[in-house]
Symmetry: C2
Subunit: 403 residues, 2 copies
Amino acid sequence: MAHIRRLLLKCQTVPISTIQRMTANNVDQFREISTSREVWATTSQDEFTSSPVPVAEVKRYATDCMVSLGVKTDHASALADVLVAADYRGHYSHGLNRLEMYVQDISTKICDGNAIPTIEKDKYSTALVNGQNSLGPVVGNFCMNLAIEKAKKFGVGWVTANNSNHYGIAGWYSIMAANQGLMGLSFTSTSPLVAPSRAKKAALGTNPITLAAPALNGDQFVLDMATCTVAVGKIELQRRKGLPIPEGWAIDNDGKITTSADVAMKGCLMPLGGAEQTSGYKGYGLAALVEIFCGISAGATYGPNIRRWMDTKRKANLGQCFIAIDPECFAPGFETRMSDLMSYLRHMEPADPSKPVIVAGDPERAHMALVDSEGGIRYHVNQISASASLAQKLNVNQMEHIA
Amino acid sequence: MAHIRRLLLKCQTVPISTIQRMTANNVDQFREISTSREVWATTSQDEFTSSPVPVAEVKRYATDCMVSLGVKTDHASALADVLVAADYRGHYSHGLNRLEMYVQDISTKICDGNAIPTIEKDKYSTALVNGQNSLGPVVGNFCMNLAIEKAKKFGVGWVTANNSNHYGIAGWYSIMAANQGLMGLSFTSTSPLVAPSRAKKAALGTNPITLAAPALNGDQFVLDMATCTVAVGKIELQRRKGLPIPEGWAIDNDGKITTSADVAMKGCLMPLGGAEQTSGYKGYGLAALVEIFCGISAGATYGPNIRRWMDTKRKANLGQCFIAIDPECFAPGFETRMSDLMSYLRHMEPADPSKPVIVAGDPERAHMALVDSEGGIRYHVNQISASASLAQKLNVNQMEHIA
């Protein structure tokens, strides 16, 4: 729970002005941003949500599931940390919702839950790590810790990994660096779901980019974004509601922009920016940047060669990239300037008075504050029943809710 | 001309299949992407374009202008190189079109054309450079050369500069690294023109991101993008044509999205992604990332503190960031994988058969090939007359066209 407690601490040390801005209506606005990406989005008012589950209990459950499959405790715990952090931060698509995918990867032995990553090449600021097909978070923690060590010694640590697996929310790794006063970045290539500008079919993943940077009093800038316009989950949510999707989210099977959620589910995601006239080729370029930093640099799979989503017939061999930079190597006063800019942005006059201007990381901080105030994480009832079934199947204790 | 020749060489060594794809209609499609961003966009069919001016002659003219103001030849030449490269690559807004701005910066003595940048801090992979208020390209070349040297020694070079000025196209610096077999990145903060998501007013610049990476046979991936949807010039172009602008480009004075080019010119640019429902907050996050790497890291101006566009009442004190990474530090075969991915993307089936799928850098390569085939760069007649006036004012020889 050390990592979670650290996140919690970070949240508690957010300046009071920020916390005040996160009360009442604002929390729900922030929540809307952070959770509307998710199919199983939940608000405390939602009739479909459970009573809260303490974060420690969610972690216990996720760890037990992995241990029941023969994964050693510290590896199971590393995975559980990242999944719980996702739910805690409001990114439900990357939390317990993904546990079954990891269970399947281990059950089918296509991923080796007990393997230890090794350093294949090392040179001052850089390293190439062979993930040895271990769990993504085990590889990710190994690499980011190495990058942090290098940043402290040489100013920058730039570590790429091959033979890795899904590593959870990218922000987990950048925050590791920010928690030590460094700037942290991470990138991972993912299964192809996004069509390059002008193309009919997908060739690139949702390829996230994350940057975390420390400000004063534990405040942090945390950008954690896919390089496509929206995740599949957001389209699925519109479909369930019977609503259309905005232009710029997805294309149909012929490569034409669609506003039908039904059609979109059979088509491809569009890169950030959407159509060519709104500069979708920039999002396409950023997705390619992620491929270059990950699979292409590390000699792992890349672009169209990456295995399909949820495929367990072949090893993932994902490429990932982890960067840490020590701001002390540049001008003194980094955190002061960070706080100054963030404060300026947060106090800008909003176009709609009910929607305050926020900075990257604020929606997640608001969600964590809500979880803390309620004593745990609320899940959609479907998630709760899926977790109960999995517990039964793996013969581990179900999650206990707060009464 | 060494740099230009190198660019030219790069272009000539693009695989023949690519060059073939750049003939006939395709050139104009590529040109549309690369030049439609520009107010003074030009096509060879355009009645408003001049006969070609050889790139060497454009450089001679730009250098003479700066030398006439007392700028030493090598500094004048460094600036001219970057401006000419912009026009040669088809980014007319950043070429001769900008020369008068640099002339004004030097004439008013708000920028010191002869100052030499100094290293303020140095630690293995990192350095903090004081640009000493010299010309942006002088600072940029100094920093990227230092980053390249560090990348070769330590794997990565990460150099930030304060006290810099406008440095031209960001891609110039990333390409410097790619020409030496490295990955190159550069970032610069710019005058505030972009409104953060939800805000009424601008607080961030168009803040470009560039990555250049080498592929086989001199081919290169060159992403060089502003983190807003479009540049001001593109809105100006629509206004001149009396056409509306797409949603996602700009907001009006009250922070509402506008489709009127007139209204947009008095409002603000929107970050890449546009509205919140199409994830404009991601572009906003990327613009903030650029501020963090530039002014905030380097202790220069940042965000709303940056002087207004074309202001010469106070020093620019811009922050910039230059990164070089040696791919040899990771898995062998980097360039082969680069070419494989680029080739796959270029051969994907397009949604519209008349618009082939391309990769970042292709439009610019097509433009350079066109310039080479015509023996020089064609300019809009307004640019030609503006350049003639400036030549007269500074008492230097006007540019000579190919008859």
